[in-house]
Symmetry: C2
């Protein structure tokens, strides 16, 4: 069987692209989690350019909400040369395009070893002192996929007292213990609740666009994930995410533009 991530993101080559089955276990907020969908697309792109297995940069535009069930991913190589390949991809259900994406893939294991990070690793209390999202009432199916432990200092929103800082951070691993890999990081970057919770704006915030940079192969074990926003305006906000691995390395970064949830 293997781990559920590998089963749920499996794609099969067809004469018309790739077929996938979107698992209902990733439903959140009336649609299917965008990070999971990016993982499915990421697998299809990886099979399109197998000599360049790792995502370096992926931009996804979410044009309609996905639902569980069959989907197709069509890929087109824009350029494949030197150490990278750029590929266009679209995920559709029936006649409806759900996501259109562009990606540059390469081989992270062949990059030089230099690291000069001035970014600071998130400071989190020990895992056992953080809040297990799976124990919250009324959590969406998505949260059953993860062992996600939110930093209690970012949990005021759950008690009706959001900090207003625009910060969420958490420990993250898959519920079944599967270790992270570069394609899975595309999903981890969009796994936490929206940072707008910390601004007192409850409700799931639809992503217009998300761009992910995967900067290194993650070490096995727990990941640390942080979400920040600095500019809420015009009914939208940017959400910056960082993923740090168990070796203390910043392995992935993303920025998304999302709509604020409408008042309930």
């Amino acid at each position: 069987m293997g781990h559920e991530w590998d089963v749920h993101t499996a794609v099969e080559a067809t004469p018309d692209g790739f077929s996938a089955e979107l698992d209902p276990g990733w439903v959140v907020g009336g649609g299917v989690n965008g990070g999971y969908l990016l993982g499915v697309i990421g697998r299809a792109i990886g099979e399109t350019v197998p000599a360049k297995p790792d995502p370096l940069a992926v931009s996804a535009f979410y044009v309609s909400a996905s639902r569980p069930g069959p989907a197709t991913v069509r890929t087109r190589v824009v350029r494949d040369g030197g150490s990278t390949a750029t590929v266009a991809a679209e995920l559709a259900q029936g006649e409806d395009t759900r996501i259109t994406a562009l990606a540059t893939y390469g081989d992270l294991s062949r990059l030089p070893d230099d690291v000069r990070t001035t970014a600071v690793e998130p400071q989190l209390p020990p895992v056992e002192e953080c809040f297990a999202m799976s124990t919250a009432p009324d959590t969406p199916p998505l949260m059953e996929r993860f062992d996600m432990r939110l930093d209690p200092s970012c949990l005021g929103w759950a008690l009706g007292q959001p900090s207003g800082r625009g910060l969420l951070q958490a420990w993250f691993r898959m519920a079944d213990g599967r270790d992270p890999d570069p394609v899975q990081l595309l999903m981890v970057l969009d796994s936490l609740p929206p940072v707008s919770f910390d601004l007192g704006q409850m409700g799931w915030a639809p992503t217009l666009e998300l761009t992910a940079h995967v900067r290194a192969v993650p070490a096995p074990g727990w990941l640390k994930v942080s979400h920040r926003t600095r500019n809420v305006a015009g009914g939208m906000f940017e959400e910056d995410c960082e993923v740090w691995d168990s070796a203390g390395r910043l392995v992935a970064q993303s920025r998304q533009l999302a709509r604020l949830p409408r008042p309930a």
Copy 2:
């Protein structure tokens, strides 16, 4: 005649898409400035969906270096519905794709007025106390397009003493005084020297991918622009840019993934 920005970014509809003429005045580092190219693409997308005139989010993947001369931009509407339209675009010269891009356009003037920005406006000395890039020796043609005044506190690299902070900031306007608009902000986001200068890595750094978010219509007058990097690793760095308008509003944000320049 009009301002040079409008002339240089003009596109003409043809049966095969749009034709453009890439002006030699935008050459930098052996290619044509990526921000200018994004402006040309932005104009073509705007003409493709005229009821949605403003870029909200644009992601561009740079697959080969452009040169001055004729170019074509082909656009395809992925989805046009509600308040936004998502469009795919490719800029090519002859058989060579230069840039492949995705964009969501809308109407910035119709967005709600809420603004809650925790981001802090760049603190810059007065314009007349900053360093005019146009007076530097051996500046590329690109810099003649701008009246760009770099913050002296970020200029150590010019004297062989980069600060190592990973920060550049400047006042910006067009040399001919044209006021900014949303499409032009796509160029402003990629107009400063690479932030890698401040890390002592001279040379122009090729962009792999750049995603821009335009958050508001800019007020007329000087802009403030900042570039930051926090994660240099694997021969690449991310560069985050902010553009603030003369009314003190954060009007555009971008992140790019770029390659470090090779040692000379």
